[in-house]
């Protein structure tokens, strides 16, 4: 009789524990979804580009969570897959379409200053072992357009940080760039922005 009561008690406990765990999981899922506030991921001018205000973007590789801090972000973490699903649900992106880039928008006259702050921010984390003045690759295009690539690794996984800027300087070739910190961005742009993008599991020579 006593054994039966004990057995029933154990069964009830198990049911309660399973129920509680399930609730925890459920509330966690809701929490992740609600983490993305409307203002945290803003579509830029009806394009597949975004102003990202999340604190960290988390890429998942073979069960590992690889955290990439976001400059000027302070609105919690989001996994890359959640970001994609969110953008798809909002119709910011089409199926089988990735983001074009992320955008840093500044006040007029603050573009170069913000670009330097951006470099300093990433020098403090993902680029801490990288010489900012020695990008992996630089592409100089007409009309002051420059693309800068930095290769870096997170837990053994290759990443590339791509920066797209419009400069004010007359840059003829790579020898003209002594320091990336000295590049002056075009402050006369109607829309003062620069662009960046992360390529996971890539190296710059593939881009």
């Amino acid at each position: 009789m006593r054994f039966k009561a004990f057995r029933n008690f154990c069964l009830i406990c198990m049911v309660v524990i399973i129920n509680c765990n399930d609730k925890t999981a459920g509330s966690e899922t809701k929490k992740i979804q609600s983490n993305i506030q409307e203002v945290a991921i803003l579509q830029y001018k009806n394009t597949p580009s975004f102003i990202m205000k999340m604190k960290n973007l988390i890429y998942e590789h073979e069960g590992r969570r690889l955290k990439i801090p976001i400059f000027q972000g302070n609105m919690g973490d989001v996994s890359y897959d959640e970001f994609r699903q969110y953008s798809l649900n909002k119709k910011y992106l089409k199926p089988n379409e990735a983001e074009s880039c992320f955008i840093i928008k500044t006040d007029k006259g603050k573009l170069t200053k913000t670009f330097r702050e951006f470099l300093v921010f990433y020098k403090g984390n993902i680029l801490k072992n990288i010489d900012i003045n020695k990008p992996s690759k630089i592409h100089i295009f007409d009309e002051g357009n420059i693309t800068i690539y930095y290769d870096f690794e997170v837990s053994g996984v290759s990443f590339v940080l791509q920066l797209d800027i419009v400069t004010n300087d007359k840059i003829k070739n790579l020898d003209s760039i002594k320091s990336v910190f000295d590049i002056n961005l075009d402050e006369t742009l109607e829309d003062p922005i620069f662009r960046y993008r992360f390529w996971d599991d890539y190296k710059s020579d593939e881009l």
């Binding site: 089988n96 100089i140 295009f141 790579l174």
Partner: protein, 286 residues
Amino acid sequence: MQYLIAIDKYEERIADGDKLTGSEMIAYYDAKEAAGIELTIEEKGNRMMLAYVEKMEALTANSTELTVSVLEKTGWDGLPLENNKNSNVIDQMSSKELKAVGLPDQYGACMFFSTIYGAADALGVTLTPEEVKKIYDTAKKNGAVSNTNDEGGYMPYWVNDFSDCVMAVAEVKKVDASNILIADKLVKTTPSANKEVANEIIRALDSGGSAQVRYSGHSMRVDGAFIENGVIILSIKDTASPNKKTYVDTSSMMLYTLKYNKSTKQYERVPSHKVITHYIPINKKE
């Protein structure tokens, strides 16, 4: 035996006044041929015409309005076009490759390279890096390339005259370029003029020619076209990233590259923020 049975069935239906569909008529002719019955010239011609109609119907069934319009206007049969005699190109971003043949180690070679490699594709010739240098010298001599901008900046690769650049390729390669048609200057455009751009570029490629597109200050060569899910896609060769396959979706003129998504196990588009501003077709006369 099975072919004869099939032939009998089709002929009974024809005798009953039934109208066979295009694919049934093709199957009827095929069965006759398989059974050893020689087709008349009229039947052979009819089968070819029906096969063409079937193919076009299949092609246009899922095509967008734009694709159907381009197919109709240009006469392109919708089969993939590829005109790339110059897969190996000088990487315009590589100082080493530019210096190796004595070309100016300066930015902005995209317009000149896209023009001469496009001209070479249209002429059916392949350029070595050394020949590119000779073409540059010839084009510079005839004033087709290099300029000084309003601010006094020297632009060694700026193309002043596209036609003269084509002539420089022909001169170095010793080929006749009298059947090549190219405008003197780039044609201004916007993404909303996609119909006109797609028409012009497809017409050029279908003639055995080439084309150039310019996105936000960067020129690239169009080396082919195909239809994907009913939409015309242009295949791009970019001398800034020669090893990266690049495309243009003509429904929006969106420039994009492809990236493999491990989660979905599919290639997905990565759109570029660059916007089309100019283009120039290189047509080949009959």
